[in-house]
């Protein structure tokens, strides 16, 4: 059984289609990354899945419940950190965690323990007595994310939870999330930071203009879309390199200053072997060599660019 399963899920605002017939399958106990450029439809999809807004078409099943006919049943079992900030301006940090637990009907004793646990996990101990109104943007975001862990849930939606967090707070949050997934939680996660997605996510979907344009594990995405690698070779002397290498196929070669050769190829292993052979048989020594691995970021950029074209 899937935690999230949608078919042809759509949302239109007038003539504008914000989410255009998407099919999603998210397995239990996984972290599912949802990536896409600004305005792609990530937040709208999240609002649909969390039943905040009704879809204009399609089906969705969340945790085995038909989310269109029984939205409240779904909401009782999920946690949601929206992209938009939310806070109780007049309450202190600890009080707002406490009250949030109360709203979720968490037992008083458990509430008390969780407040302490979350204050320290999210590095909020020093500001526990401060009013939310007086916090910095990043501190407020930390409180908002921490607050969601006050209650039990089977599925957690996080819409750019790390936006505005400093690197150590960000890493702390990612590791906290990882530990919760070990305990069986499933997470649906959007971010613009691709290293984050790579570090955290088991599966990734890329959405653009309301349509899903790629879904896979980060590794498979790289294999599929990121076969092209960049090889830089620094050679000792300037010889008539371009004519020597002119016979090599399946690649693009640039000769920058004569001593640096930049090769782009999707058959990088084979191409590199051939080049090295030619260099060796002509007595040219290689001083430095680097292969730039494709990052998820490059894949993201190229996939989105292709889908826009």
């Amino acid at each position: 059984m899937y935690c999230i399963e949608t078919s042809l899920l759509s949302k239109s605002y007038g003539d504008f289609v914000a989410v255009d017939g998407i099919d999603l399958k998210v397995e239990q106990g996984k972290i599912f990354g949802f990536l896409g450029p600004n305005g792609a439809g990530k937040t709208t999809t999240m609002k649909l899945l969390t039943t905040l807004i009704p879809p204009t078409g399609g089906q969705m099943n969340i945790l085995g419940i038909d989310a269109i006919s029984s939205p409240l049943e779904v909401r009782k079992k999920i946690g949601v950190v929206l992209q938009q900030p939310s806070y109780e301006p007049t309450l202190s940090v600890e009080k707002s965690l406490e009250k949030y637990g109360m709203m979720w009907n968490v037992e008083k004793k458990i509430r008390k323990d969780r407040v302490e646990e979350l204050l320290s996990a999210f590095d909020l101990v020093d500001i526990r007595k401060k009013k939310n109104d007086d916090l910095s943007i990043g501190q407020r975001r930390r409180v908002q994310v921490a607050r969601e862990f006050m209650h039990d849930m089977d599925l957690l939606f996080l819409d750019e939870p790390t936006a505005g967090l400093d690197p150590s707070a960000r890493r702390g949050l990612l590791d906290f999330i990882k530990s919760k997934v070990k305990d069986g939680l499933t997470i649906f996660f959007t971010t613009h930071i691709l290293e984050e997605a790579e570090y955290l996510c088991d599966d990734i979907a890329i959405i653009n203009k309301g349509k899903i344009i790629a879904v896979d594990t980060p590794e498979e995405l790289k294999n599929k879309f990121g076969r092209e690698k960049t090889i830089k070779i620094h050679i000792s002397e300037q010889k008539n390199i371009s004519s020597l290498l002119s016979g090599i196929q399946d690649c693009k070669i640039e000769y920058d200053s004569g001593v640096i050769i930049t090769v782009r190829s999707s058959q990088s292993e084979q191409v590199l072997q051939n080049i090295l052979q030619i260099l060796a048989s002509n007595g040219i020594t290689v001083e430095d060599l680097s292969v730039v691995p494709t990052s998820l970021e490059e894949i993201f950029l190229s996939v989105v660019k292709n889908s826009n074209a």
Partner: protein, 253 residues
């Protein structure tokens, strides 16, 4: 605990700050004692049903209604703040329905309204005890007035808070509307003796009905007019509540 009780608990926690409580107690006290005694020189006696009241007794009972109305500002402020600070959406992705959210606001306002009414009754009692005529209708009438008044004015505040975008607009409009209600009503002065246009205008104002019902309860004077006022108050509260609910559930997220 039931969802609505949890939401009421949260509403009370976020809205009961020192500033509000002081405002809620101090402002009617100023009216009762300062205005009450200052105007006694001008208005000696006020005819009310089959008896005549001292002005301080008249205004102290008027302040009970005034205070119920004032406390419903809370409902508008809660909705307004929840929208502005993202809590409206956050609550609605939680284990609650929009109807529960709305009802919790009504209950919050009802509780604050009842407590305020009790408080002002206690404070104003020395001023009107001589003319009080408690009977079996007293408590039901005052409670009826508190509850329908809370729902009615709470709905008005909610409607305003769902319609507006800027916070300056919200404060200006809500204060203007409530100021109009307060001074174009029988809370401060009787309809008799006011210019005819004004005394007619009094009866286009729900606060007049609210205050009349409270006075009917406290001074033990019940007649057909009061019964009609109660019916109008009840119907008005029901209609405005439906409108407020409709607007809030239509609110785009």
């Amino acid at each position: 605990m039931h969802e609505i009780i949890r939401l009421v608990n949260r509403n009370l926690t976020i809205s009961l700050n020192m500033g509000f409580v002081i405002w809620q107690i101090i402002s009617p006290l100023i009216y009762i004692f300062v205005a009450g005694f200052a105007y006694t020189a001008l208005i000696h006696q006020v005819p009310f049903g089959n008896k005549t009241l001292d002005y301080p007794a008249f205004i102290a009972t008027g302040m009970i209604g005034f205070n119920i109305m004032n406390s419903t500002l809370i409902s508008g402020i809660i909705i307004w703040n929840d929208r502005r600070h993202g809590m409206f959406e956050q609550i609605l992705v939680g284990p609650f329905t929009r109807a529960q959210y709305i009802l919790s606001n009504v209950y919050t306002v009802g509780i604050i309204g009842l407590v305020s009414a009790a408080m002002i009754t206690a404070v104003g009692y020395p001023l009107f005890f001589k003319q009080v005529e408690f009977n079996i209708l007293t408590v039901p009438l005052v409670i009826f007035a508190s509850i329908t008044g809370s729902i009615l004015f709470g709905s008005i505040a909610s409607i305003i808070s769902t319609r507006l975008k800027s916070s300056e607009g919200f404060n200006v409009i809500i204060n203007t509307v409530f100021l109009f209600f307060a001074f174009v009503s029988t809370a401060f002065y009787p309809a008799q003796g006011a210019p005819p246009i004004l005394s007619t205008a009094f009866y286009f104002n729900p606060l007049t009905y609210l205050v009349d019902v409270v006075r009917a309860g406290i001074f033990g004077y019940f007649n057909g007019l009061v019964a009609t006022e109660m019916i109008i108050l009840g119907i008005g509260a029901a209609i405005l509540f439906l409108i407020a609910t409709k607007l809030l559930s239509k609110l785009e997220l």
